[in-house]
C-alpha cells in the first residue's frame, strides 16, 4: 500500500473512534498500516501489532532459550526494540520477518552471554495442560527437553536456521532475509544443523 494512502487510512481510523474502540479499528488494518499509525503517534496501533505477533515471537524466543522466564523477557525486549526501531523499518520485508530478525539477534546475544537454562519438568507453571493426560504430558516434556538440549548445543547460525525452518516454518528465502545470508547458505546451514542434531541425539528415535 502506498505510504500516503496507508497513513490516511490509519489516521482516519485513529480519528474515527475513541480510545476504547481504536483497538477494534486497528485490528482491521494490516501490518504496514499499523506501522504507519504507530509512526503517527498512535500507541494503540502498536498494541495491536504486539497482540498480533506476540505468540510467534514468544515461541521463537522459547525455542532459543528453552524456558518461560527468559522467553518472556526476550519477547518483551524484542517488541521494545521494535518500537524503538520502528522508524527504521523500511517495509522491504514483512513485519514478521523484521521481528524475527530482531528476535534472532536478541536471542543469540542472550544465549551467547549465558548458558541456556532449560526448565525442569515440573517448573512450567504457566503451561496450559488442561486437555492432556499426565503420561502424555511427561512424554511430551521429555521429548521436548531432549531436542531443546540438542538444539542448544548447535552453533548459532545453524541453531537459528533450524529453529526458523523447523518450528517457525519460514521458507528458506525468508530465513535468508532474517539472517542476512543467501538461500544457498541457509540450506547448507540447515543440512549441517540436522546432521549435528542427529549426532547429538545419538541416533535415538524420539
Amino acid at each position: 500500500m502506498e505510504p500516503v494512502a496507508a497513513f490516511k487510512r490509519a489516521s482516519a481510523s485513529a480519528k474515527a473512534g475513541t480510545s476504547c474502540t481504536q483497538g477494534a479499528r486497528f485490528a482491521e488494518l494490516d501490518d504496514g498500516e499499523l506501522v504507519v499509525a504507530c509512526r503517527a503517534g498512535q500507541s494503540s496501533a502498536f498494541d495491536t501489532l504486539v497482540e498480533r505477533h506476540r505468540r510467534s515471537v514468544y515461541q521463537l524466543c522459547y525455542r532459543f532459550v528453552g524456558n518461560h522466564e527468559d522467553a518472556s523477557d526476550l519477547t518483551q525486549d524484542v517488541f521494545f526494540r521494535a518500537y524503538r526501531g520502528l522508524s527504521g523499518f523500511r517495509g522491504g520485508s514483512s513485519l514478521s520477518t523484521w521481528l524475527y530478525r530482531i528476535g534472532v539477534n536478541a536471542c543469540l546475544n542472550r544465549v551467547s552471554a549465558r548458558k541456556p537454562i532449560t526448565e525442569e519438568l515440573d517448573a512450567r507453571q504457566h503451561v496450559d495442560t488442561r486437555n492432556e493426560s499426565p503420561s502424555e504430558r511427561v512424554l511430551r516434556q521429555e521429548r521436548g527437553a531432549r531436542v531443546r538440549e540438542a538444539i542448544a548445543q548447535l552453533p548459532p547460525k545453524q541453531r537459528a536456521t533450524l529453529v526458523l525452518r523447523m518450528y517457525q516454518e519460514l521458507s528458506h528465502e525468508e530465513i535468508a532475509e532474517v539472517l542476512g545470508s543467501s538461500v544457498g547458505a541457509v540450506k547448507a546451514n540447515f543440512f549441517h544443523a540436522l546432521g549435528n542434531l542427529k549426532k547429538l541425539l545419538g541416533g535415538e528415535r524420539l
Binding site: 500507541s43 502498536f46 498494541d47 504486539v50 497482540e51 506476540r54 505468540r55 514468544y58 515461541q59 522459547y62 525455542r63 518461560h68 518472556s72 519477547t75 518483551q76 517488541f79 521494545f80 518500537y83 524503538r84 512450567r124 504457566h126 503451561v127 496450559d128 495442560t129 486437555n131 492432556e132 502424555e136 511430551r140 521429548r143 521436548g144 531436542v147 531443546r148 533450524l162 523447523m166 518450528y167 528458506h172 538461500v183 544457498g184 540450506k187 547448507a188 540447515f190 543440512f191 549441517h192 540436522l194 546432521g195 542434531l197 542427529k198 541425539l201 528415535r205 524420539l206
Partner: protein, 215 residues
C-alpha cells in the same frame, strides 16, 4: 560424478524436488543414505507435539500471560516515551545550552520591547514646519517672557530636555507640569524633527547677542 550438494539434499528431503528429477540418486548409495538420514532427522525433530498447541513443542502459556506481556510492553514503551521527554528537557536545561538560549531569548525580548515602543511609521516631516508652529501653536501660547540672558534657566531647561532626554522621558517629565495651551504642552507634542528644528532655532538665537539684546 560428484555427490549431491547439501542444498539439493535439503530440497529433496523437504520434497521441494522429486527424487526422480535427480538421476544421480539411483546410482549413488551414499547420497541415498544421506537423504534417508536427513529425512529421518527431520521427522524426529519435527515430532507432532501436542495437537492442542498446534503441533508446537512450545508449551502454551496461560491466557493471563499474554495480557501481562502486552501490559509490560505498553509500560516499557510509555516509559521510553517519558524517558525521551525527560532527556529532551535535560539536554535543554544543561548550562551550555540553557545560558545562550536564555541570553538569546532575553535579547529578542528587549529588542521587541524597544521596537514596539518606537512608532512604526515615523511622523511625516511637515513641509513647512515653522508656519505650522506659528499658525497653530504660537497663537495659543502665552506671551513669552523676555529673554534676559544666555544663561536664562528656562532656555537651559529646554536645551537640556532637547539634548539629553529621550522623547518618552521628556513626555513623562512634562506630564506633571504641563497645562493645556502652554509652551510645555506644545513642546511635548512636537515630532522629533520639529523638536530638532526648534532646538536648532533656539541655539541659533542664543548665539546672537544682538537679538537677545534687541528683545
Amino acid at each position: 560424478m560428484g555427490h549431491l550438494t547439501p542444498a539439493l539434499l535439503v530440497d529433496l528431503a523437504e520434497g521441494i524436488k522429486a527424487d526422480q528429477s535427480v538421476p544421480h540418486l539411483a546410482q549413488c548409495d551414499a547420497c541415498r543414505r544421506a537423504l534417508a538420514e536427513l529425512r529421518a532427522t527431520i521427522t524426529d525433530v519435527a515430532w507432532p507435539g501436542n495437537p492442542e498447541h498446534g503441533g508446537s513443542d512450545v508449551p502454551e502459556p496461560s491466557p493471563l500471560f499474554w495480557d501481562h506481556l502486552s501490559t509490560r510492553v505498553r509500560e516499557a514503551v510509555a516509559e521510553q516515551g517519558a524517558h525521551r521527554r525527560a532527556r529532551w528537557f535535560e539536554a535543554w536545561s544543561r548550562p551550555l545550552v540553557a545560558l545562550p538560549l536564555l541570553a538569546t531569548v532575553t535579547a529578542i525580548a528587549v529588542l521587541a520591547v524597544v521596537t514596539l515602543r518606537k512608532p512604526l511609521v515615523p511622523n511625516p516631516i511637515p513641509a513647512t514646519p515653522l508656519p505650522i508652529l506659528q499658525s497653530t501653536l504660537l497663537p495659543s501660547l502665552p506671551p513669552l517672557e523676555p529673554l534676559g540672558a544666555p544663561d536664562d534657566p528656562a532656555l537651559a531647561l529646554i536645551a537640556d530636555y532637547g539634548t539629553s532626554l529621550g522623547w518618552d522621558e521628556l513626555r513623562e517629565e512634562m506630564a506633571g507640569v504641563s497645562h493645556s495651551g502652554g509652551i510645555d504642552e506644545a513642546v511635548i507634542t512636537l515630532s522629533t524633527e520639529e523638536r530638532q528644528e526648534l532646538q536648532r532655532l533656539l541655539e541659533e538665537e542664543m548665539t546672537q547677542p544682538s537679538a537677545l539684546g534687541a528683545s
